[in-house]
């Protein structure tokens, strides 16, 4: 599939990074409330950049899974379900804030 980003540079992720870098550069000039908000915005753009660069999560019907866990349908396969949900959560944290992961989960990424 060809779209705007196929030949035109920079990439979408790079555009996002450019705005994030600008926010970093103006941070020290802002008063404390705006400086905090600028940091939050930089965090948001970091997430967006990582989401753009990563592939999608494995397809999974999370609504059904949530309902089944609540109904006790995963009590017998707890360990396996837990592992699967943890792995998915690790993938999400790696997108949201990679530093938040414990060393064991950072090492093998």
């Amino acid at each position: 599939m060809t779209d705007l980003t196929t030949h035109y540079r920079p990439t979408t992720a790079d555009l996002v990074r450019t705005v994030a870098d600008f926010l970093t550069s103006i941070g020290p000039k802002l008063e404390s409330g705006d400086r905090y908000t600028a940091l939050v915005c930089k965090h948001i753009l970091g997430m967006v950049e990582r989401e753009l660069l990563s592939g999608p999560l494995q397809p999974l019907n999370e609504a059904d899974l949530a309902a089944d866990i609540r109904a006790g349908a995963h009590d017998e396969t707890w360990r396996r379900t837990f592992e699967a949900v943890l792995n998915r959560t690790i993938e999400r944290v790696a997108l949201v804030k990679p530093d938040h992961l414990a060393a064991i989960h950072r090492a093998n990424r």
Partner: protein
Amino acid sequence: MAALPATRSDPTAALRAAVRRRWGNAADVENIEQVTLGGSNRTLLFDLVQGTQRTRLVSREETFAGAEKPFLSPAAQFQIMSIAHKNGLCVPEPLFTYDSNDEIGPGFVTTFANGTALPRRLLADTEHHASILHQLAITVAKLHAIDPALFAFLADLPESGDPIAAMRYRIDNLGEPHPALELGLRWLERHPPPQRPKTVVHGDFRTGNFLVDDGKVTALLDWECCHLGSPAEDLGWFCTRSWRFGRTAYHAGGIATRTQLQDAYRDAGGAAITEPEIRWWEIFGLIRWAMFNILQAHGHVHGRRSPAYAACGRNTALMEYDLLMTLTGDYD
């Protein structure tokens, strides 16, 4: 502290009018300062000026209304703080609630207490941690000892019933499936803590919600999650990993260990809360903090827009991770 924005929500005139309705036309307000526009409240500090007398006061307004909100009305908070104040707790003295004739509110005005609530500053002040823990234990034990019959108006809250059912109700209201949170809730359901006689529970007792001035705890704040339940809930929420602000080995709010908190609470006349009970409520706390993040993102999507609230949605994954790592025993 941000300067008060000159916007249509500038409350100076409304605040002045509200004050004059209570203290007469000679009264005035000066030095208004907005300290927070928090998740559910706007807090303003101001001087009440009466002749040569000047008194610092605090106005707290509800900014987040909606059927799905899990926060008490300002009127209920005012009532709770009045009871707490009468029973000798260190809470700001509630003075009056705004009513329908005020152009500000819903909300209420209290006396001002000196001190900082900033977690980083409190955590850095290690010299005072033992004393702060001791004072907090006395405060919360005193709260739990108040006759719960005085708080009968809280009995119908979902949170005053079964906590797991209440949490599922709150999560379902937000319309997002979260398997990790369901794993946590199912685990809690299969490992129930011992039943305890219900007491009033502060509901948001944590580092960041009390003021400390030179080592002295001057006020317990943020009463909008108060309900009836197990006193262990306040201890477990205080120990929830998110409130350790990086000092993770100091389970109790980054200032003490879990054991030190248990001992201080018992020395202050509180019940003998066990470690497994505190841990149960810590797991509940991580689910609850995740729910609050989903709630803030929900608020953002439904019109209360801000970058901080927007970021909360995806940040939920961080609490889910901490929850699962706590359940595996990797996190203490």
